[in-house]
């Protein structure tokens, strides 16, 4: 299959690739869009009420995490295509519900249902990507899906920010409904395999080391929310804040894609170490000079870091470890760590620490340095023979070219 240089060397058939994109990208963009619109606008409670917003957001994120685990258990027992269909349908209903129903308690209920509507099928969605891709192309396909998700997200934020709430929610419904096309063009079958117990998932060789690194990354990422002085709002204009958010999303999109190529070419560990380093750089930059310019640069590195880690750790490494028949369990376990980041993010709404940026950046940089250590001992999940095969192919081309050049010179 070829779609230009992006897909050179892919084994995944075009239809399957399109199904992956159509299933993942609109849904993932939906998750972020819901967070932006629902918790900025609080239908039925008049002007935005910070307490309700906080509780609603907390329910959204907590229900996402819990439903991911429940969904991974349910999905193993049902037909995957039907389950994904239900997942998409659930996601289509929720924004409509926000538009129709009003009241604070209803809002809280719908917030929880919104998180559930995404979490319950997300492990299955990721498992579908893992089943659809060969190990040596998984990161690139995941990176492409992430790029498209965030490009769509940026465009949708731009469009929906100009619209009223109802119009915005309607567009979000359409976005989520696009994922139905994935089910039309692909059977979305589950690859058969022996089921692993939850305990066996945790004890998979090497999985724990990546998991430990992932926890530390999440802790470092989440801690930054707690630090009040991390974002001196007075120093950063609203325009710069918006631009910073856009730059962060751009960072996620393109770093995710590029790191996918790096990961499939040179191995997952290198890509993940780059991702952790990028976060360290962003903190170091902000610790050095807290200005608008460094803030914007920080946001790019922050976005790049998240893009790299999400594509390579969450979408790829977990897929590499996950044996067929138990993929959803691995994604549910890996996703639990997202809780840590979410919990810290939510905590920043209630608590905050006033600490000098330079102190924070030093501490967080140390945490990130320590996060790299488990990776040094973790096994590389991209098989060495795939790396060797690629190198060999490249060598063959160079040899042929060299010999042909010499032959041409000799004939002259």
């Amino acid at each position: 299959m070829t779609l230009g240089f992006l897909t050179s060397g892919f084994q995944i058939p075009v239809k399957k690739f399109m199904a992956v994109i159509l299933l993942f990208s609109p849904s993932f963009a939906w998750f972020y869009l819901m967070n932006v619109h629902v918790f900025q606008y609080t239908p039925g409670v008049g002007p935005p009420n910070p307490d309700w917003v906080f509780i609603g957001e907390a329910l959204y994120l907590i229900s996402f995490g819990c439903s991911a685990i429940i969904g991974s258990i349910i999905s193993e027992r049902v037909n995957r295509k039907q389950f994904l269909g239900f997942w998409i349908f659930f996601g289509v209903l929720i924004p409509l519900s926000f538009a129709v129903f009003e009241g604070p308690m209803v809002f809280l209920l719908l917030s929880a249902l919104a998180g559930t509507s995404f979490g319950i099928g997300f492990p299955s969605c990721l498992a579908f990507i893992a089943d659809s891709t060969a190990i040596e192309e998984r990161a690139r396909v995941s990176g492409a899906a992430m790029l498209i998700a965030f490009v769509v997200l940026i465009l949708m934020i731009g469009i929906t920010s100009q619209l009223g709430l109802i119009e915005a929610l309607f567009l979000i419904v359409i976005l989520r409904a696009i994922s139905f096309f994935a089910l039309l063009i692909d059977p979305c079958e589950r690859a058969m395999g022996k089921k692993k117990t939850w305990g066996a998932v945790w004890t998979t060789h090497g999985f724990g080391l990546y998991f430990l690194s992932w926890i530390m990354f999440m802790a470092a990422g989440g801690t930054s929310y707690l630090v009040e002085s991390w974002l001196p709002v007075s120093a950063i204009s609203e325009a710069a804040e918006s631009l910073g958010l856009a730059l962060m999303y751009v960072g996620v999109a393109f770093a995710g894609l590029i790191s996918g190529f790096v990961s499939d070419r040179f191995g997952r560990k290198k890509a993940i170490i780059f991702g952790i380093s990028a976060l360290g750089i962003s903190y170091a930059l902000y610790g050095v000079a807290s200005s608008t310019e460094t803030y914007l640069l920080t946001q790019i590195f922050l976005g790049a870091s998240w893009g790299i880690i999400f594509v390579n750790y969450f979408m790829t490494v977990i897929g590499d470890f996950a044996s067929t028949g138990s993929r959803e369990r691995y994604y549910a376990v890996g996703g639990v760590v997202l809780f840590l980041n979410m919990a810290l993010q939510l905590s920043s709404e209630v608590f905050s620490l006033a600490v000098y940026p330079s102190v924070v950046s030093s501490i967080l940089s140390i945490v990130l340095f320590v996060a790299v250590i488990p990776l040094l001992y973790a096994p590389e999940t991209l098989p060495r023979d795939k790396i060797r095969a690629r190198k060999f192919k490249k060598y063959l081309k160079k040899v042929k070219k060299l010999v042909e050049e010499e032959e041409t010179q000799n004939h002259e």
Partner: protein, 277 residues
């Protein structure tokens, strides 16, 4: 400039008899009056120093590293073997540290630079030494130096045994390696070696038409012409030191089979009087 040709002897697995065939063919052609150069390109498991019982001052390894010229590494054994033509040998170093170095240390960039030197040396063999045939006795399987020799050669001679593993492996190599390295005019052919059926017991001997069926089947399966087949002879295969049987034991059936193949390879090159025995 001489219109010499380079022949690479390669196989999927070791033990197919590449070195035995390459050395015997080289000696046979030199006996006919040709100017032949045999290079031990199996840098990972060199054997010609043992075969010819020579310890040269410089090796192919030195040439590839840019430390020696082709003239430094060549050893002329024509007179001692009583050959009408010329037989020049180039050896690979059997020293452990040299094998380790070539195996482990050198990256792609070094390998390509070494290949460039190798090609220059090949050119000099044809232009200065007027060599008719250069033989590369390569490593089995897919390794840097087997790939380099295949790419540098005009003819590719694949030796294989009639076994499922050899057939499957050779087929894969055709697809993965040979097809991508085929250049303008290069030719591949197969020599089937150690073919069962050369039994002294009459009833176990394979008939000629049965042998032809094998050859046709393999040609069809792999997609490369079979130039000939050599029966399996225990006294050759398990000889502690088989040495140039084709000139030392010309009446042996092994030598006869090899001569038939040698004549086919030469084709209609009328400059040399082929031995029809």
């Amino acid at each position: 400039m001489s219109v010499g040709k380079a022949l690479a002897f390669h196989s999927y697995k070791g033990g197919t008899g590449k070195t035995t065939i390459a050395t015997n063919l080289a000696a046979y052609y030199a006996k006919l009056g040709m100017r032949v150069c045999l290079l031990d390109c199996d840098l990972y498991a060199p054997s010609l120093t043992t075969y010819f019982r020579k310890t040269p001052e410089s090796y192919i390894n030195n040439l590839l590293a840019g430390e020696a010229e082709i003239s430094d590494i060549l050893v002329d054994v024509s007179s001692e073997l009583g050959l009408k033509g010329k037989l020049l040998l180039g050896f690979s170093s059997p020293r452990k540290e040299d094998i380790h170095e070539i195996e482990i240390k050198h990256d792609m960039k070094w390998q390509l630079a070494a290949l460039r030197r190798f090609l220059a040396a090949k050119k000099e063999l044809f232009s200065e030494y007027k060599i008719d045939y250069v033989f590369f006795d390569t490593s089995p399987g897919i390794r840097y130096w087997s790939v380099n020799c295949i790419a540098a050669a005009d003819f590719l001679c694949l030796t294989m045994r009639i076994s499922d593993m050899d057939i499957a492996g050779t087929k894969k190599m055709v697809k993965d390696v040979y097809e991508s390295l085929t250049k303008f005019g290069s030719k591949c052919f197969i020599i089937l070696n150690k073919v069962p059926g050369a039994s002294p017991i009459q009833k176990f001997q394979e008939k000629a038409n049965e042998k032809m069926l094998w050859e046709k089947d393999i040609e069809k399966d792999i997609g490369i012409k079979v130039t000939g087949s050599i029966p399996c002879f225990c006294d050759v295969q398990f000889n502690k030191h088989e040495f140039l049987s084709v000139i030392n034991q010309p009446k042996h059936n092994f030598s006869k089979s090899l001569r038939v193949i040698a004549n086919k390879i030469i084709g209609t090159n009328q400059r040399f009087q082929v031995d029809e025995e």
